[in-house]
């Protein structure tokens, strides 16, 4: 009975002695991780971020146009986003673009410019509407090759004329109508919604308390044909990967 116990003790002792008999080699001083650990006592090492072949652009707050908005606004600056899209188009390391939207709308021309740029990027693009993609956010959301909306995100479609304003220049209804037509044409060309249906939503009178228009939540936007699918980040990235793969295999983007 005692013999096995003794054996165990011997084994344990042997194990304990092992580290002493074979001292581990110390890592070289140049090792950044060890330097950080010894100097600062922490393990977080500033490693260069892994290069991603997917770039993402967040369209947030107000889309700022020709007028610099006062600082209480969070803005997306179109003069920065447009050359970013040029860089994404011409950089061979970038294979796809993910556009994240949480915008309350903004400048019509700037918004349409961004939407046209995203539409004409030759690489696969996927958009994801998060909290909201209202007003001029709608054409940007539909400009991507494939669009997603989260379950709780909302999109508001309302006429331009009720909140439209051109600084210093009084505009005629004809001008506002033309602006509206530009948006409607873009949206109906890039989604499954018909012009008739879009106008119906835009001029709906029983949805908004102080305005005319329609608010759509998540799957409403999909059912009506504006957005392709309800989904979140994982689905959006997966779809983008699929599109990248299909493009590399000679597939055609829709």
């Amino acid at each position: 009975m005692r013999q096995p116990q003794r054996k165990t003790r011997t084994q344990k002792t042997t194990r304990r002695q092992l580290p002493h008999s074979q001292p581990p080699e110390l890592p070289e001083k140049t090792d950044e991780a060890v330097q950080y650990l010894s100097q600062l006592g922490q393990l977080t090492v500033p490693t260069p971020p892994p290069e991603s072949d997917i770039h993402s652009i967040a369209i947030i707050g107000q889309i700022e146009g020709h007028l610099t908005l006062p600082p209480q606004n969070k803005t997306t600056k179109y003069e920065h986003v447009i050359p970013q899209l040029v860089a994404i188009e011409q950089n061979p390391k970038v294979k796809g673009l993910l556009v994240l939207l949480n915008t309350v709308g903004g400048d019509v021309e700037a918004g349409l410019a961004i939407a046209e740029m995203i539409d004409t990027v030759s690489k696969p693009t996927v958009s994801l509407v998060l909290g909201g993609g209202h007003s001029i956010g709608v054409p940007i959301a539909v400009s991507a090759d494939y669009s997603f909306i989260t379950e709780t995100a909302t999109m508001t479609i309302h006429p331009i004329r009720l909140s439209g304003m051109v600084i210093g220049v009084p505009q005629t209804y004809e001008y506002l109508d033309k602006m509206q037509d530009r948006v409607i044409k873009f949206v109906t060309k890039h989604s499954r919604i018909s012009e008739e249906k879009f106008r119906e939503l835009m001029f709906c009178t029983d949805q908004l308390a102080r305005d005319i228009g329609t608010v759509m939540v998540g799957k409403d936007a999909v059912e009506i044909g504006l957005i392709d699918e309800v989904g979140g980040l994982a689905q959006a990235v997966r779809k983008l990967r699929e599109l990248i793969e299909s493009r590399e295999n000679g597939g055609v983007l829709h």
Binding site: H55, P83, Q84, I160, S163
Partner: protein, 70 residues
Amino acid sequence: MLWTVMPLDVVLAGSDSYRPSYVEIRRGQAVLLVEAAGANAGKLARLISSDPNDYLKPELQPGMNIGLNG
């Protein structure tokens, strides 16, 4: 022309008194338009460059703090 669900008086509040002063800084081939915030510091308001890759640099994104003394 603004098309937004936010009331215009909220969006444009303070636009009469908002008069930022900008300083131009040259970084290589790029020109940075920096909004002064304090004596030697500022926030990048706009980047002007003909190299599109400049617009992807993290340190040249709008809102980044830029030292005005180089």
